[in-house]
Symmetry: C2
Subunit: 205 residues, 2 copies
């Protein structure tokens, strides 16, 4: 900390910014051949990866800069006409970091952040008919989400099967099956509530 020490002329050591799940999402996509920030955005949207880990372009671009800064990815110019574009590729260090992350054995618990379920937990404050509406809403939301999985996400993820890439499809089916399960579980809850005398009797309260 003394200012009299001669400053060694060494190159600035590569800062190693902390990597978080968003970083690994980017590393994984770049590793899979998705080269530009914009293409990453599109890939995330198409496969609805934002369901498991949301990211917007306002995070992607600074994050790419940080990853480059840390030596995990390499950038080269890849203009298209006069329109600039950056093409990124994984460095050895990035490959190592990504595979290490994939192999880690402890999983942080999943987070479910759902305003709908939060509301449901407080539904005793509503008149029974409104509480029932809430359950119906949640069931419809699950049905809608299942449709989206089957019609949009699974077809995209299955297009990778021919390249020998199977896990995006595995996750797509998992997501769709979950939504179907949730819809039927919520439908059962609906029936249960409707058939409850205390509940049904005060239906117009």
């Amino acid at each position: 900390m003394t200012s009299s020490l001669p400053i060694p002329p060494s190159p600035p050591p590569a800062r190693k910014p902390r990597l978080n799940p968003s970083s690994f999402l980017l590393l994984g996509l770049i590793r899979a051949g998705v080269q530009s920030g914009y293409a990453i955005r599109r890939a995330i949207a198409q496969m609805r990866m934002d369901i498991f880990w949301a990211t917007t372009h306002a995070q992607i671009y600074p994050q790419l800069a940080r990853l480059e800064d840390g030596g995990y990815i390499a950038r080269r110019d890849d203009p298209h006409g006069d329109r600039q574009r950056n093409a990124y590729s994984l460095t050895e260090s990035g490959e190592r970091a990504f595979l290490t992350w994939l192999g880690v054995s402890e999983q942080p618990p999943m987070e479910l952040r759902d305003e709908g379920l939060l509301r449901l937990g407080f539904a005793d404050a509503l008149p029974p008919a409104r509480a029932l509406d809430l359950v119906v809403q949640l069931r419809k939301r699950a049905e809608e989400a299942e449709r989206e999985f089957r019609e949009e996400i699974i077809p995209v993820s299955e297009s990778f099967l021919q390249l020998g890439i199977r896990f995006p499809s595995v996750v797509g089916h998992l997501g769709a099956d979950y939504q179907r399960w949730a819809a039927s579980r919520l439908a059962a809850l609906e029936q249960e509530l409707r058939s409850d005398p205390t509940f049904a009797a005060r239906d117009q309260e």
Copy 2:
């Protein structure tokens, strides 16, 4: 927009800070009779409400101050010996805001933030045996979570049934059933992968 207009000497209008799901979590608990910040922490932990909406005490205390500031809750001193304590109660305005939120018909889509599923989507980068490990890990996590729901969360939530408060228990059972479903779905995936020749053949790679 002219600067020559005389400024009316109206009293500073009560700031109405924007309410977010965390705010409603607090309002809902205070409404249910949970009076202090510390008691809110405990209630959230015991019922694992943090599964649907995570909140720590570093958010709770400033948030309570904001809600009081906005006139949604009223504070009174409630010391215990020499140890200070604040007791909050809902104002009419807070009651209205809470019920309005509960009755809103559009639900933001649920967010499923899960590093485990994010990893699974990239599992093609792992040797098959490691990918299988990941599935096993996720299944065990679900089994563990189910146990916690059945042993810790459901008993607490069912203790409210005698007070006529049923929805915490509804949500507890929903959570437990979901974990059970996830565990069996992941077990099926495990079997499917093990019986896949391409996959099983390279088990030691």
